[in-house]
Amino acid sequence: MNTNHTNVSKEELFRRKQSHRHDLAKLPIEEKIKVLIKLQHIASKIETQSGRRYRNPWDVQVIQK
């Protein structure tokens, strides 16, 4: 298996992560709300499993443009 493309420096990994965050910041607000709702679902699962109080994720639909 050719692993050349998977060999990256730590600096490059962080650069890619940073670039991904810039891309996320540039998403349309509708897409960001979808990401937010996913985050709320993930958080509520973790909180339920750990027995902590959790808040319900938003029960809304964001229309795909």
Binding site: Q18, R21, L24, A25, K32, L36, L39, V60
Partner: protein, 165 residues
Amino acid sequence: MEKTLRVINSLESEGIIGRYAIGGAIGLLFYAEPAITYDLDIFCYLPQSGTIIDLGPLYKRLAELGYKATPGEHINVENIPVQFLPPTTNLVQEALDNSVKKSFEDVSTRVFQYEHLLAIMAETGRAKDKARIALALESAQPDKSKLEDILRRHNLLDKWSKMTI
């Protein structure tokens, strides 16, 4: 969220609330990468007598529309917990007065400017504000001269330095 914003827009057009704008973490979402939050913070002018704010007309209208309000807590408007907050500092009032038009799907709304959101987090100064400032700055750059001007006018330069170490 567009249904929620339509309700809030109607409250404004009916004169139940004055000028409003989205602040807090959802406001930040318009500029920076998504970070978790649950509340939609709506900053707005509300009827006021001295230091007493009258939430009566707002709660009455929301009840008529079918949304139950509990004083001091959020109100579920179309399945999103909304907090209606009056501007409590000069900085928040300035942010509300200078909020900008944005749209969500086809619904028009107003949002605090990015630089005001950052300054408000510095002013509030909680641990989660510090974390949110760091996250926001890593994903979106503010207009530095605008931010510095706001921070200077509201005596927040020192606080900002401490929050961004």
